[in-house]
Amino acid sequence: MRVALAEDGALFREGLQMLLEAAGHEIVGSVADGDAIVRLLATEPVDVAILDIRMPPEPDGGLTAAERLRALHPDMGLLFLSHYAESHYLMRILGIGTERVGYRLKEKVGSVDVLSDTLTRIDSGEIVIEPVLAKRLVEKPQGDRKGLIAALSEREVDVLRLMAEGRSNNGIAGQLFVTPKAVEKHIASIFDKLGLQADTAAHHRRVLAVLTYLRAQREDG
């Protein structure tokens, strides 16, 4: 895969470079700030750009650079690395794009397998979220269910909550004492009410539905 990275900490940047090379990826460029990566990739796009969130231009140059990169090259994947896994940044990242994005802790991409798996999933269109953050978000649903979520029936909210817990259709059916067929109907209705188009892959729509749910709760909170 062709990648480029922007990270202001020299030690970490060099470590990541070595790991990417060992994993067999081609590094198009390696720079220390957000403006430099936008300049670098203006003429030479890559499959995935790897961005430190907290780097120059302060305070979060990775996010501002990503907005510009997404506008320049909508198909280019974006992997955000940070010392912190926080839902505040996840929501900002989802504001930049809900496809081909990833958000992971710096120390957690410290193996060739994890790093390559993360990059491959982003390149294939997925949203990759640091597991500890995803877990925290779905374990604590709260706040008023206004806005988009208000359009859902009570049963549909139940289904969506169980989807957010990562349950399969059969698992949801078991929890709610209904048939899997009924769950499918509810999910189709949820996708429809949340405005998720039928031409998106089923798994992808599932992720988006869950994220819409979480985001709506946060905005209400």
């Binding site: 900490g9 030690l11 970490f12 060099e14 470590g15 990541l16 070595m18 790991l19 060992a22 994993a23 907290r54 305070p59 979060d60 010392h83 912190y84 926080e86 839902s87 505040h88 802790l105 710096k106 120390e107 957690k108 991409v109 410290g110 193996s111 060739v112 790093l115 925290r136 978000l137 604590k140 709260q142 706040g143 008023d144 946060r218 209400d220 909170g221």
Partner: protein, 193 residues
């Protein structure tokens, strides 16, 4: 995350103490935390090159240990001055606290900024109040706004006794607190620039 009442007064006055805390958090982030993250990557590279499965397992264990150390550093940094408070302000930082509370908490804020010292002092006062919420407590709302030259913090749905540190903080910063009946609103008004 338990807010930790470190001494908040330095020779230069209380404002300096909050700036000092913020600088220490940045030093942790830019120094040891980044070095340890870089070490985790180097170990990953060693593990990739190593052909002895037992050694690779051992390297994996050292990486796990590094992850745990980094988690401890993050907790420590959060007790000094949460990075999100510095970068995004009271609302986002308190929303993060609300993710860990035992009761539902809604944060309503106008996304205004109030400066390092005032944000630091009120964040820890409110975080303490939220962290003390018992499991199953009814919904709590914290509203943050500016009215003229005052920062107004309105906490709805907590026992007034639980807002002791908020009241104390408001007083020490030249502000005042109105306390309603149990379960109603506690409002702190603190002068801001």
């Amino acid at each position: 995350m338990a807010p930790d009442p470190l001494p908040t007064v330095l020779p230069g006055g209380p404002d300096d103490a909050w700036h000092q805390r913020m600088r220490l958090e940045r030093e942790l982030h830019d120094g040891p935390a980044l070095r340890l993250s870089a070490l985790a990557l180097r170990l990953g590279l060693m593990s990739h090159r190593c052909e002895d499965p037992a050694l690779a397992d051992g390297i994996g264990e050292v990486q796990d240990e590094l992850h745990a150390v980094l988690e401890e550093l993050r907790n420590l940094a959060g007790k000094l001055y949460p990075p999100l408070l510095d970068e995004a302000g009271l609302g986002p930082a308190l929303r993060q606290v609300a993710e860990h509370t035992d009761a539902p908490v809604a944060i309503v804020d106008s996304q205004e900024r109030f400066g390092t010292a005032l944000e630091g002092a009120t964040y820890f006062a409110l975080a303490e109040c939220l962290a003390a919420l018992p499991v199953g407590a009814p919904a709590v709302e914290v509203a943050i706004s500016r009215e003229g030259d005052e920062l107004v913090l309105a906490v709805t749905g907590v026992e007034p006794d639980a807002t002791g540190r908020l009241q104390e903080t408001a007083r020490s910063l030249g502000g005042r607190t109105d306390v309603g009946a149990a379960g109603s609103v506690v409002t702190a008004r603190i002068p801001c620039a």
